[in-house]
């Protein structure tokens, strides 16, 4: 794997909750943006973020990735294919509009 020149990101997912742990731990999770289980956040690789992840390393899963996805992009990746495509819309004449949306 070649060394990328741009900054890498940590892909951090909360797997275990901090219920019953000292308030400092849930404070670190809040600082990372992890408020619910199984939520994923992206943070650029830095000493600060690495220290935060180290503080909650028993609760969290970390990967190093090249690209950071936003919440909207992550949601779109989760969406399944709709299973249909629109041939023709009512009230739209043939040739008008943006045409068919053909999905495999």
């Amino acid at each position: 794997m070649s060394l990328p020149t741009a900054t890498n990101y940590f892909r951090i997912t909360l797997l275990r909750s901090a219920i019953g742990l000292p308030k400092r731990t849930s404070g670190v999770l809040a600082a990372l943006g992890l408020h619910k289980r199984l939520r994923t956040v992206y943070h650029p690789v830095s000493q600060t973020v690495a220290g935060q992840v180290f503080a909650v390393k028993e609760l969290v899963d970390v990967q190093e990735v090249v690209q950071a996805l936003s919440a909207r992009e992550m949601r779109q990746l989760r969406q399944p294919e709709s299973g249909f495509y629109v041939e023709r819309r009512a009230g739209v004449r043939a040739g008008e509009g943006e045409g068919e949306e053909v999905e495999v």
Partner: protein
């Protein structure tokens, strides 16, 4: 015996929430996997920081690390010059903190904590050295002191020191939040 209550074990004076004194094999399997998961996370953080240092030399990343202990007189706090700063009390406080503080005087003269000094090098704080190298002190201490799951004796994986127990050991599953806390080290000899 007493009306609607059946004479069950707990109601006859037994313990309701019984915890076995030893872990089962599936419990031990999950504990090993948890230890390996933490080892994996530590290695991910380590390689990520090393790659960060390799691609971005440390001279360009000093802004993200902890504030340097010494600052030259030409550096300014924001847009204020030292002459302007010395006119206010807040400015004088800022100016005084820029001078290098001996680590012996931190912690009110008690000196740095055990583990804060780099072994072999006299009077150098591990946190400062780690900041300059682009790593973090916590990671360096963990790698130096904590064993990985492969290096651990099974007795350390499944039991922990207890001064009240008969063999000075008790099951690690009796530690509160044991699945979310790292417990790997025990006093030597126990």
């Amino acid at each position: 015996m007493f009306g609607a209550f059946r004479p069950s074990g707990p109601l006859s004076g037994g313990l309701l929430w019984k915890i076995p004194w030893r872990m089962s094999n599936p419990q031990k399997l999950r504990q090993r996997r948890r230890l390996r998961r933490v080892d994996n996370i530590v290695s991910v953080l380590d390689t990520a920081l090393k790659r960060q240092v390799a691609t971005h030399p440390i001279s360009t990343t000093t802004a993200t690390s902890s504030p340097p202990p010494t600052q030259s007189e030409s550096e300014t706090h924001g847009a204020a010059t030292p002459a302007e700063l010395s006119t206010t009390a807040e400015g004088q406080r800022l100016l005084s903190t820029t001078t290098h503080v001996e680590h012996a005087s931190r912690r009110q003269g008690r000196g740095p904590k055990q583990g804060d000094l780099v072994p072999g090098q006299p009077r150098k704080l591990l946190s400062e050295q780690a900041g300059q190298l682009g790593t973090i002190k916590l990671l360096e201490r963990w790698k130096a002191e904590m064993p990985t799951e492969q290096e651990m004796h099974p007795r350390d994986k499944y039991t922990m020191f207890d001064r009240k127990a008969k063999g000075y050991r008790k099951g690690v599953h009796k530690l509160p939040k044991w699945t979310r806390v790292s417990q790997r080290l025990n006093p030597p000899g126990f």
